[in-house]
Symmetry: C2
Subunit: 71 residues, 2 copies
């Protein structure tokens, strides 16, 4: 089994993907459950990643709707 990425690495990876245009402004990121599958980590780890990106202003979370890249 490969060593899973740490939450900071996942945060940096997601930030890079957003910056590169993979997730353009206004777009919706995969759900927590999808991200936890994509990165093979626990749900709570993804929640921590998103919380970090939120604090950095990289994404905006909207309970019940999703996580979005600000315009």
């Amino acid at each position: 089994m490969p060593v899973p990425m740490s939450y900071t690495q996942i945060a940096d990876d997601l930030a890079d993907r957003i910056k590169s245009g993979e997730y353009p402004p206004g777009s919706k990121l995969p759900s927590y459950n999808e991200l936890s599958t994509l990165y093979s980590v626990h749900f709570g780890t993804i929640a921590r990643v998103i919380a970090l990106l939120r604090d950095r202003g990289v994404v905006i979370g909207s309970p019940g709707r999703g996580t979005f890249v600000p315009d």
Copy 2:
């Protein structure tokens, strides 16, 4: 029982205390265990608070030594 502060509120409270001079540059913050007692929250919640303040550059953690206010 009083409603406990959320981890963001605790982070803001600590940041305010640092800014006000209660924890001057170079000083050492209370340990995770002490903070979790002070704020009546779980150890893991304090770890999350410190992680947030670390990301903001407000504190620097040093495993085995403590958490410090940068100069």
